[in-house]
Symmetry: C2
Subunit: 178 residues, 2 copies
């Protein structure tokens, strides 16, 4: 009986540990297919490049933000193209939801005001610069994670072709916000 209780206790602690690992999103060891890019530790604390919105009627209604590690931010500020090796960019995509709380407050000074805020995370994408390792794809490795798990190979085959139109800006769409 004591042994069973111990096993249950161990299983519970392991379950909590697994949950903690998943929730933090920083210790997941899974890597993207093709590129082998893992979730960079601490990316949520990178500096902000910009914010954006994507609306695909019936399919996606998102607020988005792009963050960069120090190498990427320095390159952005100094207009360095191509981005140097070691540059990393994260794009966080969230659902966009109306804020009833904000709308109530805003209705006084701004009749008809519609405030939208972040709902939950849809996915997180990364671009990692390594001009030798990723020479075939403009020097960038790509990754797309949902709930800490990378998308499949078919998805990751679409990353680079989609970014080719931004070739003049080293395949990076987002511009640095003032």
């Amino acid at each position: 009986m004591k042994r069973i209780a111990l096993l249950v206790a161990v299983a519970m602690v392991a379950g909590i540990a697994a949950f903690t690992t998943r929730a933090s999103g920083h210790t997941d060891e899974a890597a993207s297919p093709i590129y082998g890019v893992k979730i960079p530790p601490g990316y949520r604390d990178w500096k902000m490049i910009a914010a954006a919105q994507l609306l695909v009627p019936g399919k996606a209604d998102q607020l988005r933000a792009q963050l960069g590690n120090d190498i990427a931010i320095k390159a952005y500020r100094e207009g360095t193209i191509p981005f140097p090796d070691g540059s990393m960019i994260a794009a966080i995509h969230w659902t966009r939801v109306p804020s009833e709380d904000n709308n109530k407050v805003l209705a006084g000074p701004f009749p008809g005001a519609q405030s939208f805020v972040i709902g939950s995370t849809v996915n997180v994408q990364f671009m990692v610069k390594d001009s030798k390792k990723y020479a075939a794809t403009g020097g960038w490795g790509f990754a797309d994670f949902k709930d800490g798990k990378p998308g499949d190979e078919a998805l990751h085959k679409t990353c680079f072709p989609c970014h080719v139109p931004a070739k003049d800006r080293d395949y990076v769409f987002t511009r640095y916000a003032p």
Copy 2:
């Protein structure tokens, strides 16, 4: 003639210097009325709290982001309420503009996709926590800057009353994004 040329040259350099100071937004010494809050140096490099959107038909069409200094970010993560003294929060408000470039790229995989990105800065707001200095306004000092210049006293009189509905969250509307 030489003297005129010299004067023109000096005026041009001075003009460039003035523009640089304004564009960086970091060296302006002006302070907000009532609260005396200046633009905190380096705020653009603070960590991101969240992103948002505000639409007031015919009046405002904005993408927004909130950034926090290390004290504020730590408090957000740990759920510390009230925010400790020294906490500073910046809210950057930009115009929201459609990205024709992005829409062309997205039209293939996502027909009807509408991408919106940042246009230009509308204003930047700050909340600075000092529970003694700002005891009359929930411990927060407020500031609203346009092009590096603080708004007038009438504008700043509206800051605290507008934030009162968020009293349960120490007068801060924005929630930390995952």
